[in-house]
Amino acid sequence: MTIRSVLVANRGEIAVRIIRAAKALGIRTVQVYSAADADMLAVKLADEAIEIGPPAPKKSYLDIAAVISVAKRANVDAVHPGYGFLSENGDFADAVVAAGLIFIGPSGDAIRLLGDKVAARAVAEKAGVPTVPGSDGRISSLAGALEVTERTGFPVMIKAAAGGGGRGIRIVNTAAELETQFPQASAEALASFGDGGLYLEKVITRARHVEVQILGDGNNVVHCFERECSLQRRRQKVWEEAPSFLLPPEVRQKLCDSAVALARSVGYRGAGTVEYLYDDETRQFYFIEVNTRIQVEHPVTEMITGIDLVEEMFRIAAGASLSVRQADIAVKGHAIECRINAEDPARGFMPAPGRIERLEVPEGKGIRFDTMLYEGYVIPPFYDSLLGKLIVWGEDRAACLVRLSQALAQLKIEGVPTTIPLHRALAADRQIATGAFHTRFLETWLETEFAADGGRAAEVA
């Protein structure tokens, strides 16, 4: 199989990223776009662009029939789904294959298996990967849920089996709360995901979010080490690093090996991420979920390993074996990514679409800016607020933080408020410098450290 052309079934910065990888491989690019996205950067960069529908995602980027019909019309060999939208929709992967095209990602069956949180947990357990104490699969009744908490204690999370990306999760602290929230969670899961299935997991307090990048070609699986993504707001990642620098080497080895074992047990094909919670005190890690696609934060892995993950996805999809062996993959230095969103950190992170009046991008050794922006671009209100990702590499973490502060000072986006002031404050923070943070750190820090001056201290400095 050869991939000579690809349909980019996504938008924003990841569409730009996919086009860049395709061009490096000499692959012709066809970009889809909604009526609101005719001016987006990926449309300008692609060899061809085709409108697929109105602004609403479900009438355009989420419309399987529309995307397949455009793929056929454009006569492409393959479809790259990016992240979000249809990237983890097993039926979409099947539809691409049924149309005689290559889906750049795992099979529909693998997406469905690993996308179902309960099934994925069973796969992990079978592969010997530690899981968070909780229910043994789905629980159908409140009585069953209460029985589980006798074993795990409180607090526990009620999670939707079909959820993901931080959605469909409730935390309860007492049996009484469980009694009221359980039926509500089930109804909500049914409405949101079309599946009312629930399961319970113990809340690991003060945990880090650590995830392992894997690549599989159906026979071999390698890991590209881990990322540390503990800095989150409302369960959305804000700042990511690679590697997770406080992880003891023997824990890192076990963690990465467990991700490989899990992926190997299902004959995984493509790029994927195995997510874990890590408890600093007990040095235990627990499997959370698998993401069967490229992640937003993939560049930090690329910066420390030198592997182009998106190019590797194209090669694997074309039927090639992995281009790297595990022994060839090593960590060099440290990388940090800051997500730059069109949100106003001084006003409760209110999103703000609008026109980009001025854009100045830092350049130099170890600096990368993956973005959808250009001067004069009008950001539409219909999609998420991610504008770009500033990724900085250094010989070690301290050098990386110094370079990050310099790069953030040089990054200028005018016309809409952005989260740049938040990142400047984080890059200058002493607790961030020591790495003493966990998944609940940022929300508290925003109230106590950042809200006090709205990030102005960092602006002046």
Binding site: P55, A56, A342, P351, P381, D384, S385
Partner: protein
């Protein structure tokens, strides 16, 4: 009697009800009070409630459910 226009403060997608399977906040002809919710605007995956802002009768919607709107666009009219 005069007409009062209710405008969208933000660009985004207009919704007439709080969830897909519940009745709309208001239907054409309803009376409204100033603090009544008349719809939601979705901006970059976050939802903002739109209130009538005035008391009046006979609300008429000029934008359909799930339609894109621009900042300043008239969503509905109310008789005062």
């Amino acid at each position: 009697m005069s007409k009062h226009e209710i405008r969208s403060p933000l660009p985004g997608t207009f919704y007439r009800s709080s969830a897909p399977d519940v009745p709309p906040f208001k239907t054409d002809g309803d009376a409204v009070s100033s603090s009544d919710a008349i719809g939601l605007i979705e901006v970059m995956k976050t939802f903002q409630e739109i209130q009538a802002g005035v008391a009046g009768g006979g609300i008429r919607f000029l934008v359909d459910n799930e339609e894109p709107v621009m900042a300043g666009q008239v969503i509905a009219e109310v008789d005062q």
